[in-house]
């Protein structure tokens, strides 16, 4: 059997007296789309960042594709993992095309291959090719996050880490971008771990939902499984909120 895409074993991280992660173990299989859900301070972002060593744990082991990440140079590890976050962080002094080309350039790809890849990615994230020469400041919020996704995908990673990627976008853009990304996940055979505080988004996009609270995993399963079997009142409340919301919406809009 192949090693899981990600394997966390007894991972802990403390900030002073508070435990951000309290001996968490989690296995993510290849091709899975996992949503990490929880309130602020639940440890979901900390957990995500232990995977690409942006935030190395105090104890425990993190393995990506069967290899312990602690034994690898962080920059080499990160070039193999796509990373998208809410603030996007496009380099303002580089054009859209240069932003997308950053990781391939670091990996030493030749110019022709990079140019071809940039064009492919613009198509893939549904951006017109003419934005390539523009500065990030000249784009809308949704376009910027599409560039962020394209940049993360540029070096053809198999694994994508996303930290509230669509959190700052308006609802329509958010919905469209979420659906587009889910399609990409399928088409490219990616493994995706996405942090969100929004259970509705998690249920709509992910195959599997992991609920965190106070640095521990409260629940872990498909949305339907969780709703059927969870006894924990907090998890139930989290899951039922979007369901109730959907029902109320249907009533009020008379559909």
């Amino acid at each position: 059997m192949a090693a899981p895409a990600i394997q966390l074993t007894d991972v802990s991280k403390r900030y002073g007296a508070t435990a951000a992660l309290d001996s968490v173990s989690l296995s993510v299989g290849e091709g899975e789309f996992v949503a990490l859900v929880g309130g602020s301070g639940s440890g979901k972002t900390t957990l995500l960042k232990t995977i690409n060593r942006l935030n190395p744990p105090d104890a425990g082991q993190v393995a990506v594709a069967g290899e312990d990440v602690a034994g690898q140079p962080p920059h080499a590890l990160r070039r193999r993992i796509g990373y998208v976050f809410q603030e996007v962080g496009l380099f303002p002094h580089l054009s859209v095309a240069e932003n997308i080309a950053v990781t391939p350039k670091l990996l030493g790809w030749d110019a022709a291959r990079i140019a071809e890849r940039v064009a492919t990615l613009l198509d893939l994230v549904a951006l017109p090719r003419e934005v390539a020469a523009r500065a990030p400041a000249a784009l809308s919020g949704g376009q910027r996050q599409r560039v962020g996704v394209a940049r993360a995908l540029a070096a053809e990673p198999k694994l994508m880490l996303m930290d509230e990627p669509f959190g700052a976008l308006d609802p329509i853009t958010r919905d469209a971008l979420g659906a587009d990304y889910r399609a990409l996940h399928e088409r490219l055979g990616l493994t995706t771990v996405m942090v969100t505080h929004d259970m509705a988004e998690a249920v709509l996009l992910a195959d599997r939902v992991v609920v965190l609270d106070n640095g521990r995993i409260l629940a872990d399963g498909t949305p339907a499984d969780l709703l059927a079997h969870t006894t924990d009142p907090a998890v139930r409340a989290l899951l039922e909120a979007p369901k109730r919301q959907a029902e109320r919406l249907r009533e009020r809009l008379g559909a």
Binding site: L54, L77, R78, V88, G89, L90, T103
Partner: protein, 518 residues
């Protein structure tokens, strides 16, 4: 064009060339020091505070003092290196100026560097890590480009400060645009002072505008602006420094001068004689501080200059007694030779003594004719002195002998000291007996019944390494005993007066003619 402006323009290539060379070198060195320091300080908050505090502390030292402090420091280092590796270096001129100005340029670049680097948006910094940049790649590809406009603004500030402060390198013996200002201040040649200020301001503004072009280019990411600005800077600096290539030939002799008219005139007189004796190129180091001049001569930085027996007796040898004019001269000749290897070639024939001077009407009204009378009236009077007199041992000797209790004591540039006396801001001044303004203003010199003030015969001093140079000694020996005090007063006045003033070189030629008649 007026002859004074024309004379100023004639000196411009040399002064400007040195000024630009000094400023460019100091800025370049300042960049080399402060950029890595800014990067380290931006990385480490623990380093940041002490580094910025130290740089700010340096900035609070007055620039003139900072320049002056490097001279004794370098002199000590030079002596140490002579003692250990057998080779010294010049502690005067370019090196102390360069080091002081470099320190001065550090703060703005450092502070803006730290601000620029720590001001990079954390999201962008996280993205740089996330895409897989190493620390170095992040620095060069993200942090420095984003901080570039702020760093450039710091470099602009540093450039303007450095160009302005470089005018202060004149008193430590480095030619700069400050020569116009310092010499002009001494000889009341306001055209020269204004010319120096204007030249330095134009230079600073030009550099600021060109660097501003680079900054705009960095901020708006327009490469054309950056290239145009840099090209302007390089071409401008090269053109300004080009005349220095012609000055590159080593000087056969260096003649020193302190910072007043008589010294300029005597330096010109000696330089002229050396050139007539066949020396290919005689350079001048003017506007040296009183203590700097003797140490520079003893260290061989300058070959010859004129000092005064009383000054050497009290300040160099630390003597407080006054054995009489001839005994002081004889004592100096043997002591300076024995102690420092400095040769006293001989007295020029006149004294430039400290002499207390009053306006005739005031002296008459108060019935003051001697220092003893002055002590009686002192509580009602204000003493005006030059900048160093009150801290010199001569003042302590006079004060010790007569016990003055002045109402107030004020220090002035010599030029302004006479103005203060004329205008009533001072009642009595520490004048110089060879000053032409004493006769011109009909000032009364007070007698010294207790002989507290030592004699001040002007003597030619020759550096230890030129002690055996026959061409030098033979060229200058005819000046010994050849200059009467009236001739010197007339020469000084021709430079110092308001109307129809002449340059020190012209005054020196006139003085050479009158002294040759004796």
């Amino acid at each position: 064009m007026s002859p004074r402006v024309a004379a100023a323009f004639e000196l411009l290539p040399e002064y400007l060339g040195w000024h630009v060379l000094l400023s460019v070198s100091a800025l370049a060195l300042g960049l080399v020091i402060s950029l890595p320091l800014a990067i380290a300080a931006a990385r480490s908050p623990r380093l940041r505070w002490p580094v910025l505090a130290l740089a700010s502390l340096i900035q609070t030292i007055p620039s003139l003092a900072l320049l002056a402090l490097f001279f004794p420091l370098l002199l000590a280092l030079s002596l140490l290196s002579t003692a250990t590796i057998g080779r010294g270096f010049s502690a005067l001129g370019f090196l102390p100026s360069l080091l002081a100005l470099t320190l001065y340029s550090v703060l703005p670049i450092l502070r803006n560097g730290v601000t620029g680097l720590t001001g990079v948006d954390p999201a962008i910094s996280e993205a740089a890590d996330g895409v897989g940049m190493t620390t170095r790649q992040k620095l060069f590809q993200v942090e420095l480009p984003l901080a570039a406009p702020v760093i450039m603004a710091g470099i602009r500030t540093a450039a303007v400060w450095t160009i302005g402060a470089a005018t202060l390198s004149t008193p430590v013996g480095q030619t700069s645009l400050g020569n116009y200002i310092f010499a002009g201040l001494q000889t009341e040649n306001w055209v020269s002072v204004l010319f120096g200020c204007a030249a330095s301001a134009v230079l600073a503004l030009t550099a600021d505008q060109l660097l501003g072009l680079v900054e705009t280019g960095a901020r708006t990411r327009r490469r054309g602006f950056v290239i145009a600005g840099l090209a302007g800077l390089v071409v401008g600096a090269a053109v300004a420094m080009a005349p220095l290539a012609g000055l590159g030939k080593p000087a056969a002799y260096t003649v020193g001068a302190k910072n007043f008219s008589e010294q300029y005139i005597l330096a010109e007189l000696m330089a002229d004689r050396l050139e007539r004796a066949g020396a290919s190129h005689v350079s001048r180091k003017e506007d040296l501080g009183s203590a700097v001049a003797y140490r520079a001569l003893a260290a061989g930085e300058i070959d010859v200059y004129v000092d005064y027996s009383g000054t050497l007796w009290t300040n160099v040898l630390g003597r407080t007694d006054n054995p009489g004019r001839q005994a002081v001269l004889t004592g100096l000749t043997t002591e300076l030779k024995r102690r420092d290897g400095v040769v006293v070639l001989g007295s020029l024939g006149f004294e430039n003594a400290y002499a207390f001077a009053m306006r005739p009407d005031r002296a008459k009204a108060l019935n003051v004719a001697s220092l003893a009378d002055l002590a009686r009236e002192a509580p009602k009077l204000t003493l005006g002195s030059d900048l160093e007199f009150l801290s010199r041992p001569e003042w302590k000797a006079v004060d010790g002998a007569y016990h003055f209790a002045f109402k107030a004591k004020r220090s002035f540039q010599p030029t302004f000291m006479y103005r203060a006396l004329a205008g009533g801001d001072a009642d009595v001044i520490s004048a110089f007996s060879s000053d032409g303004r004493i006769a011109a203003d009909h000032l009364v010199l007070l007698s010294d019944p207790k002989a507290a003030i030592p004699p001040y015969d002007a003597v030619i001093l020759i550096s230890p390494k030129r002690a055996g140079d026959r061409r030098l000694t033979e060229a200058l020996r005819p000046l010994v005993g050849a200059i009467r005090v009236e001739a010197m007063q007339a020469a000084n006045y021709s430079v110092d007066r308001d109307q129809g003033k002449v340059t020190p070189a012209q005054a020196a030629r006139a003085l050479a003619l009158t002294s040759a008649q004796h």
